[in-house]
Symmetry: C2
Subunit: 322 residues, 2 copies
């Protein structure tokens, strides 16, 4: 894996990585290959970083169980990436072919199942509360996929619906990692709640920035093309903001969104309309607002270097370029 | 659900069914709808029947945990049916459209994940040994899918490879159900081993009969067309036996199997070649042999009406018409 500044958990992240690799060993080398391909693609490792920092921030000393759980959450994340790419037809991911492009849809589908199973083989060894939370994360992810697809191109979609979707598809997994980390670290109840709240707001900010980068990001830095959301009809905050910026812009965006499938040309035109509106700045302000809420939540966590790292992480998430 | 003779666990099977339905409730009604559609399609309920009978056969009184685990295994089975149908392009299942045909590939893929998660939310509450066994079942299923696909149309495939595949894709889940049922019922160690062995042999017999029905079954009784294995290039025992029945038959079957995709006409011709050979009778004899081994394994289980039911179940599995 690559990337990201150092938040003081590099050694533990390497242990998470090793645990993930150990988990996906299989007699069927193709399954291991696909799993390693997805895991090895790197990524920002936000989820395990949050879980490990939350654990340390509340005074956790023995990180072995937090490492196990962080590995389970990474496996779940990898499984959903593989299946989501199949579902969305996303052809590149982190600068490389999506797994289903490289290995075929059928093999990738099975490999995704395999990753889920390996996650639960780890997560199932934890207390029922933590297992339930992990299962709720997965249920939320599945529900979010359905909601996002059902409301693709939905011109009546509201910012509240968007935020509710983002809670389920991005914020809940990050928040659950923070919560589990804090519980396993022996955090006080108010710290556990605070870190849960931190993770939720961090996750929302993270997704808003993802949506911004899908409009104004640099594809070579992102490792994937921009405009995916618009092509899929995902009604992100940016689309919603742009729709409110002038009658003519709304009319033209409406025509583009109503069309399905959307051509590369109409996606390019839609991106230009969003970029030309005040949407990007408004969305950046939204992301900053959720970052501020995440920082505020940290007030209830004991001061220390790991709490500071969590604050820096929120900064990184909002200001990243990829 | 429908079907099958009464093996003395009808009341418990209804509780398993209720537990499965409870597990798939979701805020997203589409997920519940898809899950209910798959579960509601019925089926022979061999897996929960074996688990429940194994539990009772060793003197299990309180079936509540066996019912939970049987529900988890049914959820796993349903998840794999949904994903396998996507992968195999099977358009009908139990006389109805496959889930992905009715709800779309994307929704069905997510619904399959959802069913897996719900299974593990139940299975994860059990002792690590039982959770591990459940996870191994899922891993085996994933590995078997990969092996089956990789060796589709493989003319060097052997009966041993076939049996190894069948162990992983069909026999292991049934055997695990028997084992878990026996453990939860408080069976003696030799009874647990005996019922594991019973399940393994029952599962192999079950799959061989499935393969036979895909050649000589009545599509209206089966609820699906025949010839699926041949179309997919699955090298079942029947194909292997037919290949050994005359040089000309082998040559023509080889030509059909080498072709890919295989036309309806060539599949029909292939079926005629298999039916005209001694393959069906040889495969029936194979199934009977595994049934006999299953019965033999029962010798180490205490005598009683539930052990008798397990014997009758083996009979039913081998002599069924669908």
């Amino acid at each position: 894996m690559t990337s990201g500044p150092d938040f003081g958990v590099e050694a533990e992240l390497r242990l998470v990585e090793a645990r993930v690799h150990e988990a996906v060993r299989s007699e069927e080398s193709l399954l291991t290959d696909i799993a390693e391909y997805v895991i090895g693609a790197g990524g920002k490792r936000i989820r395990p970083t949050v879980a490990l920092l939350a654990n340390k921030a509340v005074g956790g000393r023995d990180l072995s169980r937090a490492i196990e759980m962080a590995a389970a959450l990474e496996l779940i994340h990898s499984a959903t990436l593989v299946h989501d790419d199949i579902n969305d037809g996303g052809v590149t991911r982190r600068g490389r072919d999506a797994a289903y492009k490289k290995y075929g849809v059928q093999n990738a589908l099975v490999a995704g199942d395999f990753l889920f199973v390996k996650a639960f083989a780890i997560g199932g060894r934890f207390e029922p509360d933590l297992l339930d939370l992990t299962a709720r994360v997965c249920t939320s992810l599945a529900e979010a996929e359905i909601v996002q697809r059902r409301h693709a191109g939905d011109l009546a979609w509201t910012p509240d619906q968007y935020l509710n979707l983002v809670r389920r598809k991005t914020a809940m997994p990050i928040s659950a990692g923070a919560r589990i980390g804090a519980i396993l670290g022996g955090g006080k109840p108010e710290e556990v709640e605070a870190l849960t709240e931190y993770g939720l707001n961090l996750g929302i900010a993270f997704q808003i920035v993802d949506d911004i980068l899908d409009v104004v990001g640099d594809p070579t830095v992102l490792g994937k093309p921009v405009g995916t959301d618009l092509r899929e009809g995902n009604m992100t905050l940016l689309v919603l903001h742009a729709m409110n910026d002038g009658v003519e812009r709304r009319a033209e965006l409406t025509r583009i969104i109503r069309r399905n499938p959307r051509s590369s040309r109409s996606v390019a035109r839609g991106l230009a309309l969003i970029r030309g509106s005040g949407a990007v700045e408004l969305a950046r302000a939204d992301a900053e607002r959720f970052r501020a809420r995440a920082l505020e939540a940290l007030d209830d966590v004991r001061p220390g270097p790991h709490r500071d790292s969590l604050a820096r992480l929120a900064d990184f998430v909002v200001h990243r370029k990829a």
